[in-house]
């Protein structure tokens, strides 16, 4: 009788239940704290893809200063980054590299498509070397329209991303 109850399968179920219990106890406040930390510490990858990088540079300048929101400009290695801002046109030559950069970033990671070219191809909708938007390459979180977007627009995009992150589950802890 006891042998029937104590089986590896049941032990697994028991451990799983315990895990659920612990998760239920810890997930909410810890998840709140971790989400809060992620919101205020978006470090963008240093990758420029086209001319919107000019306005991205201006956004980290003194007048717009995205560091107020915890976004550091020009961060070194992509292994420590969370945010990839696709700054404009993605050409056929750049697309595989962009995906490679995305794949090398640690979870959790977020994507902002900045500028008309990154969203739909923009002015270059009929060019032979430009992708019509980056949806086929990366999963985009926030679209920031404009050609190029003003820095204010980019900041608003970042704030929208923060709003989105608040509602995300923080449990994806690796």
């Amino acid at each position: 009788m006891l042998k029937d109850i104590v089986t590896p399968h049941n032990a697994n179920v028991f451990v799983g239940k315990l895990g659920d219990l612990l998760e239920r106890a810890i997930d909410k406040p810890l998840g709140y704290a971790i989400n809060w930390g992620r919101i205020w510490s978006l470090w963008p990858v240093h990758i420029e893809t086209a001319c919107c990088s000019v306005e991205f540079g201006a956004a980290s300048g003194p007048r717009y200063d995205v560091e107020r929101f915890g976004i550091i400009e020009a961060f070194g290695s992509l292994r420590q980054c969370d945010l990839i801002v696709v700054q404009g046109t993605i050409t056929r030559k750049m697309a595989p590299r962009l995906r490679l950069v995305y794949d090398q970033m640690p979870e959790p990671k977020y994507v902002i498509a900045m500028g008309a070219c990154a969203i739909t191809g923009g002015l270059y909708f009929d060019s032979y070397n430009v992708l019509p938007g980056i949806d086929g390459v990366l999963p985009v979180d926030v679209y920031v329209p404009g050609c190029p977007p003003r820095p204010e627009t980019l900041i608003q995009g970042c704030m929208l991303l923060q709003e989105k992150m608040k509602r995300m589950k923080a449990r994806k802890i690796v």
């Binding site: 420029e48 893809t49 001319c51 990088s53 540079g57 300048g61 961060f75 070397n129 190029p148």
Partner: protein
């Protein structure tokens, strides 16, 4: 056979002393291009630039659009120098269509292009600062750049992509009391630009680091066909604004800056000196400008050109910018070729980096006044 393979697919050399580094396209010191750098210890033995990450086919697309709708397209390669990159195209189209531009429009064009040159140069300087690890020098020019962007926004209505130059003049007249605001900003900026010397150009570490690195001699500068600040830092006094004055540059009072050293420091100093000259030009043009008058000649809709081939050039922030337009009696140009300063200066990069230290790579690369998006077109 290996010479026929594209750069990314070539087999690496098996020499164990040589290490191949891929600098870019994701690299804090590369921008939108890739440099395949081979190093032996700390020395660069070979460098193969691999541009084209922003090649968008502007020239092909220009063949499908008429002379006017090409304007917003052709400014996209250098959005922060958009007036200057449109300038040769607009001059060429005026040649083809045979338009005479009103006097006031010429002055307005000069002012817009000089303001835009400052915008471009300040952004370039900011990136040069960050490439040398000097974060203050990123922030200060980025902040001061907003002054000129404000002025241009007043003039044109757009922050960076102005599309202000059109065949026959400029798109709209100056706003009211523009002269006062412009003079005030320029006065402030001239005070401010002197402070850059304190923190950047007179900085002993900067001087020690960039002097005598990447030296381009006068003969080599001519042989490689470099242009703009690279050429003038090597001692060749060649500025298209002086040598082939377009619009009203021959009536304005300014100097060209020439340095003889030809190293990265001289190349970085020339644009800074040019900005001061730009301030002079703006002030002079504002005083000589006719106070009223038309700024735009009305064009026929969908104008057609004759059968001719025009090559016009201006001095942009990165040097000579030539535009070769071939027209074949159609509303669309048959062929538009932009011969851009960045692309011409790129040829000097493998030549200069050979034998340099790895630490000099960012400073030499960016001192060439290279904007990858423009070079790729």
């Amino acid at each position: 056979m290996s010479a026929q393979l594209p750069p990314g697919l070539q087999l690496e050399k098996t020499d164990e002393r040589i290490m191949t580094l891929n600098v870019g396209p994701q690299h804090p010191g590369s921008g939108h291009m890739r440099l395949i750098v081979q190093i032996d210890g700390d020395y660069i033995v070979a460098c193969d630039p691999d541009p084209g990450y922003v090649h968008r086919g502007e020239e092909k697309m220009a063949e499908y659009r008429n002379y006017i709708t090409n304007i917003p397209h052709l400014e996209r390669p250098v959005i922060h120098d958009s007036c200057n990159i449109l300038y040769p195209y607009v001059l060429g189209v005026e040649d083809i269509l045979g338009i005479e531009v009103p006097e006031r429009a010429k002055y307005v064009r000069v002012i817009a292009s000089e303001l835009n040159r400052c915008v471009y140069t300040l952004y370039w300087l900011a990136i040069y600062g960050i490439f040398l690890g000097h974060s203050t020098m990123f922030m200060w020019p980025t902040g001061d750049r907003e002054l000129f962007i404000d002025l241009l926004e007043k003039m044109t209505g757009a922050r960076v992509t102005h599309a202000y130059m059109v065949p026959g003049g400029v798109r709209n007249d100056l706003p009211a009391n523009f002269e006062d605001v412009c003079l005030r900003q320029v006065d402030y900026f001239e005070k401010r630009i002197a402070e850059y010397a304190d923190v950047f150009y007179d900085n002993p570490i900067l001087i020690a680091r960039t002097e005598n690195t990447g030296v381009l001699s006068r003969t080599d500068a001519i042989r490689l066909g470099t242009t703009g600040s690279v050429l003038r830092a090597s001692g060749v006094d060649y500025d298209i604004r002086k040598r082939e004055p377009y619009d009203v540059y021959d009536s304005l009072d300014f100097e060209t800056n020439v340095l003889r050293a030809g190293d990265a420091y001289a190349r970085s100093k020339i644009p800074w000196l040019d900005m001061m000259e730009s301030c002079r030009i703006i002030r002079d043009a504002l005083s000589k400008m006719p106070k009223s008058g038309s700024v735009r000649v009305k064009l026929k809709p969908n104008p057609k050109g004759g059968e001719e081939s025009v090559y016009r050039r201006v001095e942009s922030g990165r040097g000579a910018l030539g535009c070769h337009i071939i027209s074949r009696k159609k509303p669309e140009p048959y062929r538009v070729k932009l011969s851009v300063g960045s692309f011409r200066n790129l040829i000097a990069l493998p030549y200069l980096l050979k034998g340099e230290r790895l630490g000099n790579m960012p400073s030499v690369y960016w001192s060439l006044n290279y904007w990858p998006v423009e070079a790729d077109r």
